[in-house]
Amino acid sequence: MGEAAITTVIATDPAVELKGITKRFPGVVANRDIRLSVAKGHIHAIVGENGAGKSTLMKILYGMQRPDEGEIRINGSAVSFHTPGDAIAAGIGMVHQHFMLADNLTVLENVVLGSEPRKLGIALNFGRARKKIKEISDAYGLGVDPDTLVEELGVGDRQRVEILKVLYRGARILILDEPTAVLVPHEVDELFDNLRVLVREGLTILFISHKLDEVLKVADAITVIRRGTTVASVEPSGVTARKLAELMVGSELPSPETRESTVTDVAMLEVSGLTMAAPGHGPVPKGASAEQLKAEGARLQLEDVSFTIHKGEVLGIAGVEGNGQAELVEAIMGMRSITAGTINLGGTDITDWSTLKRREGGIGFIPEDRHRHGLLLEAPLWENRILGHQTRRPNVKGIWIDRAGARKDTQRIVDEYDVRTPGIDVDAAALSGGNQQKLIVGREMSGEPVLLIASHPTRGVDVGAQAAIWDHLRDARAAGLAVLLISADLDELIGLSDSLKVILRGRIVADVDPSSVTPEQLGSAMTGAGEGA
């Protein structure tokens, strides 16, 4: 009796306990009073919007950053991590969203990389490592062959190698950062089967995601993070996706609903038969049809994509990330060459135009990755105002940069778009993400664009900036702007779009009416579940 009671106590002792974790960065509080208790042997999901503070929290737990306040307890004892090495020693392993594997090495070599087993001090003891990998693989049903080259593996297998890598280093608590972002649906199911085996064997899993249906399917417990703090801990059985979404975004969230329709019947952008072969296939005959290319074994990133956007219309593209959205955007911007198809802007064929000419023709571009594609981080705001508008007034006069003109117009953007900055001479890097995004939106709305390509326009920005960006998009739409909207935020897509298309594996697979569709229906269409329906 007494002994049984003790076992129960041990079994319910939390594997991870966070109390009052707070982390401040200059100008922002990334985490505030985070409270979290993860039971041993559970799959514990942490959900929250992009920018809610999930990543910071996980970096703290993995020793990559130190909290300013608060306490971390692992298996009941307080710890203080200075480096990821400390976290690994405490039995915590992290599987990153982006795989960190060397393609030209075998699974075995990748797994031991950095902690190579030694024989007589110098020689590598691959035999022992191979045996250990086999044992782990068999024990947890990962089905990984240690001698395969990583480049021969698919995405799902690579993820299993990443998991094996942290298990090999003795991890008992696994952090999985958005593990399903790169997977197709059946791979997601396989991953979930693997995870269930892992917890059955006594491991604990922290599962970070913002995909609510997946979380409900796999998690034993769910903690919701909103604006840097934990707002609720719930049981998956007692909650719906809708309820979770409300917890995630909070009730004060402004709705992205657009009011009356402003769609005209003037076509602004007409894309037809757009096809793009993946690079690495070798030379592709220009103008080859999608069928011909497939017959030749080319992998298609875009396959026969056609749509029309009218003046005053917002066309939303829904899809799981990595299904061709980025390629579509880059094709329309002229940043990547296409294999077949035509692009028409306002009745002019722009298929062979350069990026510059397309921009001059009135295409505005809010890129998905603002740091890579949208800004010069180490340049002042007024120079960033010029970026993408290097050939247009008020930034230039002939071949000369018009400093006064660019500065004046930057000040206008700062005022009109409420960019919070002490001045236009600070570097773009000094601004918060939301303010950087407002600057980009303001810039891309300058010069009277006729078409705006908005890729995740409110990703990672705070709620206030999000509402402001939505307002600007709506106003521009009312003024006759055509918008191609790509977003992972389904509410944003449904709320802003006049029409919606679903993209899956590079193909447009469904047309959806945004006025009647629910996020749940859209979500299942995105994974292909709604195909044929």
């Binding site: 200059p26 100008g27 922002v28 509080v29 604006r227 703090t229 911007m333 940043m335 350069s354 990026t355 510059l356 000419k357 397309r358 921009r359 001059e360 571009f365 890129p367 990755d369 890579r372 594609h373 949208g374 800004l375 010069l376 981080l377 180490e378 340049a379 120079e383 010029i386 970026l387 993408g388 508008h389 290097q390 050939t391 230039v396 071949i399 000369w400 940069i401 400093r403 919070r420 900055t421 002490p422 600070v426 570097d427 890097a429 000094a430 601004l431 705070d462 206030g464």
Partner: protein
């Protein structure tokens, strides 16, 4: 965020006083290190430095210093044009040597009279430099070959090529035991300027050219659309592509301009003092240019000061031998300056990033707190 290399090569701005404080600190540090070296070798550091300065302040040496600085500055500008765009034109060395050889033989042929010949020689040099650089540019733009590798190889090829061309049955003329290109006619010598009193020696007329090149460089980079595109490409190639910059064309243009500027490096020597390309023609100036471009962070004024500092060290090093100190001491100084200036720039940069973020968050503190309170 900017990489360490971005900061080293000056693609990240460093404003105000700090742009001067960092290199000044580096020079002071270099003086300390050399002092230690001198003490170990049994010399009095103060005496050595006084001798250097006193020797360098003589009118005759001042003229040498300015003339050498002119050449160094042109070399630094040629390197800096590439650096600002993330292009490492290590091939400046080969570009200027080949350019000087061919320009010298064109000039020596005396095809046009007088001042026109000067113009012709300069244009040929720039053209050859640009063409030689464009090989690496085309390889990079069409085949993705790293310009570092290709320009290093082209340097070796240029060495072989100049050696092959400079033989008696090709471009060379035997003059006793020495071999060189036919001397450039006297009416095509660059006139000098007697600017410094107390010596009959004249300042090389290419000082004016160097000043024009420096101003042109600063204006081109900071005030023109082309310069903006070039800097944008250097700071973030993906952002430049998204903004409509044709990066391949930029690679070729920047490399060609860098090569044309490299063609100028040999001109002060060729048209101002040697009047022929011989085996004695100075080599290695392209690498000196790299060091000075680093020191001056690709900034025209910074590179001018760096070029003068280098020229001072080189031209007054002879004085050390009077004190029985090896003149290679200045090489130690130069090495320490370059190393410590990189560290100083890095430290100043880190300080500035933190300071800027603090300043921005401080100035925005009021609204940020309101936002936090509402949550």
């Amino acid at each position: 965020m900017s990489t360490f290399l971005d900061r080293v090569f000056g693609r990240v701005r460093l404003d105000g006083v700090m742009a001067f404080v960092a290199p000044a600190l580096a020079v002071v540090f270099a003086l300390l290190v050399t002092s230690v070296v001198l003490l170990i070798a049994g010399h009095a550091p103060v005496d050595a430095f006084t001798t250097l300065v006193e020797y360098g302040a003589q009118p005759r040496v001042l003229v040498l210093l300015v003339n050498l600085g002119t050449t160094y500055f042109l070399a630094a500008v040629a390197v800096a044009i590439g650096f600002r765009m993330n292009l490492f034109n290590i091939g400046v060395d080969g570009q200027y040597r080949l350019a000087a050889l061919i320009a010298a033989s064109v000039g020596g042929a005396g095809l046009v009279p007088g001042a026109l010949n000067i113009v012709l020689v300069v244009l040929v040099a720039m053209l050859v430099g640009a063409l030689w650089a464009s090989i690496a540019a085309v390889l990079k733009a069409t085949r993705g070959v790293s310009e570092v590798i290709s320009t290093i190889m082209l340097n070796a090829i240029a060495t072989g090529l100049t050696g092959w061309l400079l033989t008696a049955d090709r471009l060379g003329v035997l003059n006793g035991n020495a071999i060189g290109t036919p001397p450039i006619p006297e009416d095509a010598h660059m006139p000098g300027m007697a600017l410094i009193p107390g010596t009959p020696m004249k300042i090389n007329g290419f000082l004016i050219v160097a000043i024009i090149v420096g101003i042109g460089y600063a204006v081109l980079l900071n005030r023109t659309r082309f310069g903006f595109n070039l800097r944008a490409t250097g700071q973030s190639e993906p952002a430049a592509v998204a903004s409509g910059v044709n990066v391949k064309r930029m690679v070729i243009t920047a490399m060609v301009i860098s090569g044309a500027a490299a063609g100028l490096i040999g001109m002060p020597e060729l048209l101002g003092s040697s009047f022929e390309y011989s085996l004695n023609f100075p080599t290695g100036l392209g690498f000196t240019g790299i060091a000075i471009a680093l020191l001056g962070r690709n900034n025209a004024v910074g590179m001018a000061l760096g070029a003068l500092l280098w020229a001072f060290l080189d031209s007054s090093s002879d004085a050390l031998q009077l004190m029985d100190i090896s003149k290679e001491l200045v090489d130690i100084m130069k090495g320490v300056i370059v190393l410590s200036v990189i560290i100083a720039y890095e430290l100043v940069h880190r300080y500035q990033v933190v300071a800027a973020q603090r300043r921005v968050s401080h100035e925005l503190a009021a609204p940020a707190e309101k936002e936090g309170a509402a949550a």
